[in-house]
């Protein structure tokens, strides 16, 4: 099983192959578009990521003790980031997911210090941690 650190390195490497900001963004948007369509019933208040200025839904499910994330957003950039987060979370234990952070986003060459004090990302992370912690209990 590939570790979360390895997935982060894969993502960083993938973005580093792209030379311009526009190419990186295009790739991010494509990743967002490639997310499976989220069922309308899952776009409920429980799955709505609070405090994120865009509409963002995270549905975290558990199968055989491993977590999976489905996501959708009305924002292309947030959806793209969600696709990266879904990749990171997929098939990992709640204990690992509850410790995840978004520091890798600072290394993909799109934003300076994206993970630092960004209310939208903090809201995503908090939602993820809460649901992962609940899955441990």
């Amino acid at each position: 099983m590939i570790t979360m650190d390895e997935i982060e390195r894969q993502i960083i490497n993938e973005f580093q192959q792209l030379s311009t900001i526009d190419e990186k963004y295009f790739h991010l948007f494509e990743l967002g578009d490639s997310l499976p369509i989220m069922e309308a019933s899952l776009k409920n208040d429980t799955n709505l990521v609070q405090s994120c200025q865009s509409m963002l839904w995270f549905h975290i499910s558990s199968r055989d003790g491993f977590l999976y994330l489905e996501a959708d957003s009305d924002s292309m950039v947030i959806k793209g980031i969600s696709a990266l987060v879904a990749r990171l979370v997929e098939g990992h234990k709640p204990e690992e997911v509850s410790r995840v952070n978004f520091d890798f986003l600072d290394k993909i060459g799109l934003w300076k210090m994206a993970s630092q004090s960004n209310p939208g990302l903090n809201a995503m992370l908090e939602h993820l941690h809460q649901h992962a912690s609940a899955a441990i209990e």
């Binding site: 900001i21 526009d22 963004y25 948007f29 994120c52 200025q53 865009s54 009305d74 924002s75 292309m76 950039v77 947030i78 799109l110 934003w111 300076k112 210090m113 994206a114 004090s117 960004n118 209310p119 939208g120 990302l121």
Partner: protein, 172 residues
């Protein structure tokens, strides 16, 4: 008649596309109009009206926006910078300037923290006094709204994705 320049600027809280702005600014500059000219707002609004519709109810918003834009132009021009039409590229086959996708910063809500400046990989924003303003709207990456998510006082307004989808549909 030569083709007039086209540019979008923020008027109040909404974007508006204007014809002939570059030509007007150059004409005013050549005639010696400074950014502190007592009649600047009148000259700008009258000039813009030659090629654009300016609603009476929005004259003061237009004047404020045009003075802001002319001040930036004037500062660059007097500083020796060549003012050349910038190529903003295309978005899905259309000139980028024709796609109204860029942030609008509410001066009332902006606390000048600069989080948007930090997060934006392009040079869309600039600090002006204690506020942040949008100086290069068409450098904004179509579809991106990350600055909005970074803005704690929620001062940034972005178009929604449906608008882009409409453009895509209409282009087919």
């Amino acid at each position: 008649m030569d083709k007039l320049s086209y540019r979008m600027i923020n008027i109040g809280t909404a974007p508006a596309g204007l014809l002939g702005l570059a030509e007007l600014f150059e004409e005013l500059y050549q005639s010696g109009t400074t950014s502190m000219d007592a009649n600047l707002n009148e000259k700008l609004v009258l000039g813009v009206r030659k090629h654009n519709f300016v609603p009476k109810s929005a004259i003061s918003d237009y004047a404020a926006a045009l003075i802001r834009e002319y001040s930036v132009f004037y500062k660059a021009r007097t500083g020796g910078k060549a003012i050349v039409a910038r190529d903003y590229g295309q978005w899905e086959g259309r000139p980028r300037e024709n796609i109204p996708w860029f942030p609008i910063v509410s001066a009332d809500l902006c606390d000048g923290c600069g989080a948007c400046l930090e997060i934006c990989p392009k040079e869309v924003f600039e600090k002006e006094g204690s506020k942040v303003i949008v100086i290069e709207p068409f450098l904004c990456i179509v579809g991106c709204c990350f600055c909005k998510s970074a803005c704690k006082p929620k001062a940034i307004l972005m178009p929604n994705r449906e608008m882009l989808d409409s453009y895509r549909l209409n282009m087919k």
